[in-house]
Amino acid sequence: MVNKLIKEDTRMFLTGNEVLAYAANSAEAEFMYGYPITPQNEIMHTWCKLLPKTGAGFLQTEDEISAGFSTIGGILAGKRAFTATAGPGNVIMQDAQSMAEMMRIPFVCAVMQRGGPSTATVIYAQQETRLTCFGGNGEGFRIVYSTAGHQDLYDYMIKAFNTAWKYRFPTYVLADGYQGKMREPVTLYDPASRGITMVPTQKFLLGEGEIGKDRKSVHMRNTYNMEEELMEVLEGYKADYDKISEEIQEWEEYKADDAEILVIAHGIVARSARTAIDELREKGIKAGLFRPITIRPLAVKPLREAVSRAKRVLFTESANGQLAQMVLEKLYGLSTPYETLFKMGVGVTGDDIVNKVEAMTAAAI
């Protein structure tokens, strides 16, 4: 057991990376495996600084491949273990992530997106959206929470552990370099004070009982000899995933009820959209926001309803439409026209959105 540091509501002024380390501690995470890559380093810096007080564990690995696989090892040992990465690190960690997906391992990872492709920038982007949802040679049986600031980081990092251990799908907190590095006020709390109970962990290997007496030896594999054998397993996963999707999907609407122009954005860009919507409303333009919080799985029904109500849709992202592609697929059959404001690897400001929506409105008149 680890010592939880946050025992009562504590208002703090922190960077997002610091928030994530505290959140993992509050979620009773016992072990972190990690490899340095900007902009997520301070998660492990903070985690390590807190170790004497928390009594948790840490291993600095030789690369993200190892960070991913050793996290799996820690989880197999029954520990609430996690890792964090970004950019090219997220790319090479897909090796481990796809194994977690295939073996239904409650893998938890914070992704602090940076510019891509390749090394690009160490600063910010939303270009790992598709990778985090669908990376690896599989079907994307993963759960991805896209956060929009420090309170989200705290809330959803705690939630990620419970989602992962309850449903046994790899679970991600998808944030970005701005959220990791920026400093803003946040309220840290003991999850118990919010009625949150941590889902108990279990040992996958060397669990209770004696082999040959109380139980058989456990043989975990990700290899199948026959195509049909594989499909049967995956059909089971898909059924599980579809069944829980409505239960875990989360979204946020802001002034979307009567919105004529519906902005669809996720993560930190959705925050800029809120600023823009307030400004547009003051100017008499009826704009609103639909923000998917789980971007995998998407909240399809509410999304379709919001889009159906609107006259026009604006997709905006710090990427070339990675979320939009996923969303558009789910909007099949609707005829609401849409426009886009995509800034690859660059922050979208409120002004950007205001200008774009004003142009859309002018064109409509």
């Binding site: 072990f31 820690g74 197999l76 290997l205 669990g207 975990m220 594999r221």
Partner: protein
Amino acid sequence: MSEILTLPPNLPKAQNAEVGASKFCPGCGHGITLKALAQAVDELDIKQKTVFGCDIGCSLLSWNYMDLDTVQTHHGRTTPVIYGLTRANPEAIGIAYMGDGGGLAIGAQHLVNATVRGERMLIIVVNNTNYGMTGGQMSPTTMPGQKTETTPYGRDCTVTGKPAKAAEMVASIADKEKSYVARSTVSNVIKLKSTFVKALKNVQNGGFSFVEVLSICPLNWRTNNYDTFARLQQMEEFFEVKEFLVPEQKV
């Protein structure tokens, strides 16, 4: 004769009796190696706390071969899964089982770093000088002049460099006080077992162990029994069979 054949096989307790016929090719060295390992686990009576991890390549066929808690991982990634586990569970004795490709090519960075950090685990590299499962390509340990699918005219060391010597490399970077490093061979199963016993004892004592096992692959070598062991003998001359590091046992 028929009476002898009907005797139940004398399986070590750490070997899975339910697995039935081996999935390894006829004449493969993995069966010999795994049996010796199982005997070593039996001798030390550590079955209940041992975790066996196996790699991709022919070693993955051992995923249910042992009566041990087992995880089959990705190519080259058995080492990090196992040290991830033993870091989180200090009671566990971890074994990472892989071939020469998994150990020295795709997973080399993990071998190097696990060695340098002195991870509390046993890494076994079964060296049969080629990639067996994928159809017999050149591996880091392919012998000079050896024909494989990717060196059909024989390995030309002026182009490919010389064969990698895993035990020597590991011994040169391991902590001498707490590492057991040896090269053994399937031609001497009694010695192979005692090597595993020493290696596992060292892990029990909190140390890092590495055993390279010279093994055989008659299918991809396209050798008959005689030629198979003649080639193994050549390998034993090229790759020195000995203990490279033996930490002083704690009294």
